[in-house]
C-alpha cells in the first residue's frame, strides 16, 4: 500500500509532532528523523543502521535529528520500518531510494534463505516493511507499507520516476 500526500513540511512535522530547528533543515540535504519510543526517546531499527551509515557517506550533508540519546531498536519480529527521510535536495532522492531498495532486498534474501532451510515452517512469513519519506521540493509525502516484496516493487517504480 502506498499513501501519497501533498503537503508543506511544517504541516507534516506538526502532524507528526516533530520539532526540527530551521538551521538543521537549511544546512542539510537530507535529514533522518528517528521514530520515538513512548513519544520520548528516539530510536532506529538495528537492521537499517548500516544503510543509514552509507547514506551519510554518499550524502555529505546528512543529519540524524534528534540524535541525542538515540537508541537502537531490536524487535525480533518480522516487521521493519525506516525512520522518516526528509529529502531537501532532489539529487538525494535516488540515492535514498536505491539504498532502501537494497536494504529491503537483504530482508527478502534472508527470508528466502530461511524458507529454503525450513520450507515446512508455517511461522515463516514474509516480513512487513514500512518506509516513509518527504520530498521537500515537490512537497510530497510518501508512506509505503506492506510485505517486503510489494514494498520493494513500489520502491523500484518510484525510483524510475522523477
Amino acid at each position: 500500500m502506498i499513501v501519497t500526500q501533498v503537503c508543506e513540511l511544517k504541516d507534516l512535522l506538526e502532524k507528526e509532532k516533530i520539532e526540527i530547528p530551521q538551521e538543521v533543515l537549511k544546512k542539510n540535504d537530507l535529514v533522518i528523523v528517528p521514530s520515538k519510543r513512548n513519544t520520548e526517546r528516539p530510536y532506529v531499527d538495528v537492521s537499517i543502521v548500516p544503510t543509514l551509515k552509507e547514506m551519510k557517506r554518499d550524502i555529505p550533508k546528512t543529519e540524524i535529528y534528534p540524535a541525542e540519546n538515540l537508541e537502537y531498536k531490536d524487535f525480533r519480529s518480522a516487521d521493519f520500518q525506516t525512520p522518516l527521510f526528509i529529502i531537501l535536495e532532489d539529487y538525494v532522492r535516488p540515492i535514498v531510494l536505491a539504498l532502501i531498495a537494497r536494504w529491503i532486498g537483504n530482508i527478502i534474501s534472508e527470508h528466502l534463505a530461511r524458507k529454503k532451510a525450513d520450507p515446512e515452517n508455517k511461522l515463516l512469513k514474509e516480513p512487513a516493511v514500512r518506509v516513509r519519506f518527504y520530498q521537500d521540493k515537490a512537497k510530497k509525502y510518501f508512506e509505503i507499507e506492506g510485505n517486503a516484496t510489494a514494498v520493494q516493487e513500489i520502491e523500484k517504480d518510484l525510483l524510475k520516476q522523477d
Partner: protein, 263 residues
C-alpha cells in the same frame, strides 16, 4: 535352500495369509543370518541380519496370537523401526537405501498403533509437531524486543551513526579488519508470543499440560479402561483426522514418545 530363497518363501506365505508358516521361514532365515554374522562379522552381514529381523518384526506386528495384546504388537513394530534405523546408520549408502522403508514403516506404526503420549504423576507431555499444530501451538513463535544504547564501530569504537568522527562503513575491510557493529547497553523490553517471529525456529516445541486438564478432554470410559488395564495414553490424531504423518521421521517418532531409539 539359500537364505534368499527362504526369505522369498516367507514373503510369499505372508502375502497368502499363512502367517504361522511364514513365521517359521522368517525365523529359519534369521537363524542362518545370525550364524553368518557370528562367523563373518562385517557391516554387510550385520545389515542383512538387522534388516531381515526388522522385516520379520514388522510382519509379526500385523497379527496377535492368543495371549498377545496390542502392546506386544506395538513393541514389535517399535523394535522393527529401531533395527531399521540402526541398519541405516551403518553407512550413508544404507541410510539412502532404507530411507523409503523407514518412512513407510514409521507412518504405518503411527496410523495403526498411534503414538504414546508421555506422562508422569502430574503432567502430560506433548512434543509431536502434528499434535502441537492441532492444539494451536504451532501457530505461534517467540520474539524478543530490546533496545541498545550504543552501536559501536569495531574499527574505532565510536558510535557508528551518531559520532561524526567515525567514517567507517559496515562490511568494508580496514587494514584487514572488517568493520562491524557491536551493539551494547542492551535493555530487554519484552518477550512476546507472536504469529510471525523473525526467527521461525523460535517456535513452541513442547507443551507440558497438567494431567487433570488434559484428561478432562477425554471420554470417561477411555480413562477408566486405561487406568484399570494400566495402558499408556495413546494419541490417534493422525488416524482419526486422516493426517499423513510424513513430517515424523524415525528419530522424532521415538523422541515424542520419550522412548529410546537404541535397543
Amino acid at each position: 535352500m539359500s537364505v534368499f530363497e527362504i526369505l522369498s518363501r516367507a514373503r510369499l506365505l505372508a502375502r497368502k495369509g499363512e502367517v504361522l508358516e511364514a513365521e517359521k521361514k522368517y525365523l529359519q532365515a534369521i537363524g542362518l543370518l545370525e550364524k553368518e554374522a557370528n562367523e563373518r562379522p562385517s557391516r554387510e552381514t550385520k545389515a542383512e541380519l538387522w534388516s531381515t529381523k526388522a522385516e520379520y518384526l514388522n510382519f509379526r506386528a500385523s497379527f496377535c496370537t492368543e495371549n498377545e495384546t496390542i502392546d506386544d504388537a506395538r513393541n514389535r513394530m517399535m523394535e522393527s523401526i529401531r533395527l531399521l534405523l540402526r541398519t541405516s546408520k551403518l553407512s550413508t549408502e544404507y541410510e539412502k537405501h532404507f530411507a523409503p522403508a523407514l518412512k513407510s514403516i514409521v507412518a504405518n506404526a503411527i496410523l495403526v498403533f498411534g503414538c504414546i503420549l508421555p506422562e508422569d504423576d502430574t503432567h502430560v507431555y506433548v512434543e509431536c509437531p502434528i499434535k502441537l499444530k492441532n492444539m494451536g501451538a504451532g501457530s505461534f513463535g517467540f520474539s524478543i524486543g530490546a533496545f541498545s544504547e550504543k552501536a559501536g564501530c569495531t574499527i574505532c569504537g565510536r558510535d557508528i551513526l551518531t559520532d561524526p568522527s567515525c567514517t567507517h562503513i559496515v562490511g568494508q575491510s580496514y587494514d584487514g579488519k572488517m568493520c562491524e557493529i557491536a551493539f551494547s547497553g542492551f535493555q530487554l523490553d519484552h518477550v512476546s508470543l507472536t504469529d510471525h517471529p523473525l526467527d521461525p525456529r523460535c517456535k513452541i516445541t513442547k507443551l507440558t499440560i497438567p494431567k487433570k486438564e488434559f484428561y478432562e478432554g477425554l471420554p470417561r470410559e477411555q480413562i477408566e479402561l486405561k487406568e484399570r488395564s494400566k495402558l499408556p495414553l495413546v494419541c490417534h490424531l493422525c488416524k482419526e483426522e486422516g493426517i499423513e504423518p510424513s513430517e515424523i521421521n524415525a528419530e522424532t517418532y521415538f523422541r515424542i514418545q520419550h522412548i529410546s531409539s537404541e535397543q
